[in-house]
């Protein structure tokens, strides 16, 4: 059982299929997720990688669950921040559910470590990234705060 867990829910007025694609496809993630892209063929067991715009690997793991839509889960180890990389693998799960004109997107990011620095770190990041995803899908423009990779990070 995971012992440290971050959970976040946001409702987005867009078709479920669009939200699903936006979570995976580079043409979307570049715009709302700080210019990053995910390299993956999206099948269970395949490698998953988060690429930072300067070429570094931000995170890496494997696809654990892939049921399009509503459910996508990957194992995720941070690869570029020493203290976080040492913690090993976390698990991030997206779940989608359509409710009226909106989609409920839930994100769970969990670690087997109690007091995980990785979970503390991502819990600061996810609200901004997913708020920006909602803005992108509802208005056509992401939030300025997540358009670019943070300088010096």
């Amino acid at each position: 059982m995971a012992s440290d867990r971050y959970f976040y829910v946001i409702y987005i007025r867009a078709p479920q299929e669009t939200v699903w694609r936006a979570l995976m496809e580079p043409s979307f993630t570049r715009r709302f997720w700080q210019e990053t892209v995910q390299e993956c063929d999206w099948t269970v067991g395949s490698d998953w990688l988060l690429r930072i715009p300067d070429g570094r690997v931000g995170g890496a793991g494997k696809v654990l669950e892939f049921e399009p839509p509503p459910r996508l889960s990957v194992s995720w180890r941070n690869e570029f921040i020493p203290g976080l990389a040492d913690e090993g693998y976390t698990r991030r799960t997206y779940e989608l559910e359509t409710l009226g004109d909106a989609v409920r997107l839930s994100l769970t990011h969990e670690s087997d470590l109690k007091g995980s620095k990785m979970i503390a770190s991502v819990s600061q990041g996810w609200p901004g990234i997913l708020s920006s995803l909602k803005s992108l899908l509802e208005t056509g423009e992401p939030l300025d705060s997540t358009r670019t990779w943070p300088r010096g990070f």
Binding site: S131, E138, T139
Partner: protein, 152 residues
């Protein structure tokens, strides 16, 4: 071991802090995105505060503990329409608004000195819906539709 139950939600909205503040406190705006509710208060420290449904029932009530427009609002908050939640007594809801990178950061912290609080469990489901609807209203002009945003 603390006995406090707490829910924290953070969202970022493309609108000025004052617009976010107004949307959170002005009755004609809250009822658009917040299940038809209206808040009644004269918004001064110590003033009574209540939230009413469209049909006139009181949803929640308490008083204003701190107010610093458009940055910070602390409410003492008791549920008034569900006996099990009302029995838990007063919770505290802190709303913090700041500007970061040209967007407004809105943080809601809702807490009560009750272990395993049913009130906090209830608001944990409610706040993401309400604040997502608020964000949609401010960024697109239209709140979320039913069933997420219907009169309670």
């Amino acid at each position: 071991m603390s006995k406090t139950s707490r829910f924290v939600y953070v969202t970022f909205i493309r609108a000025a802090p004052q617009r976010v503040w107004d949307a959170l406190t002005q009755p004609e705006q809250t009822r658009l995105y917040w299940h038809g509710v209206t808040q009644v208060s004269d918004w001064t420290p110590g003033a009574d505060w209540k939230m009413t449904f469209a049909d006139g029932r009181i949803a929640d009530a308490g008083r204003v503990v701190e107010i610093d427009p458009p940055r910070r609002l602390v409410l003492e908050w008791r549920n008034e329409f569900m006996p099990e939640l009302k029995a838990e007594g007063f919770s505290r809801c802190t709303i913090e608004i700041s500007e970061e990178h040209d967007v407004t950061r809105l943080a809601v912290t809702h807490e009560i000195d009750v272990e395993g609080s049913k009130l906090i469990e209830a608001v944990s489901g409610g706040w993401p819906m309400i604040l997502s609807s608020l964000k949609s209203l401010l960024e697109t002009g239209a709140p979320l539709g039913e069933p997420l945003n219907q009169d309670a």
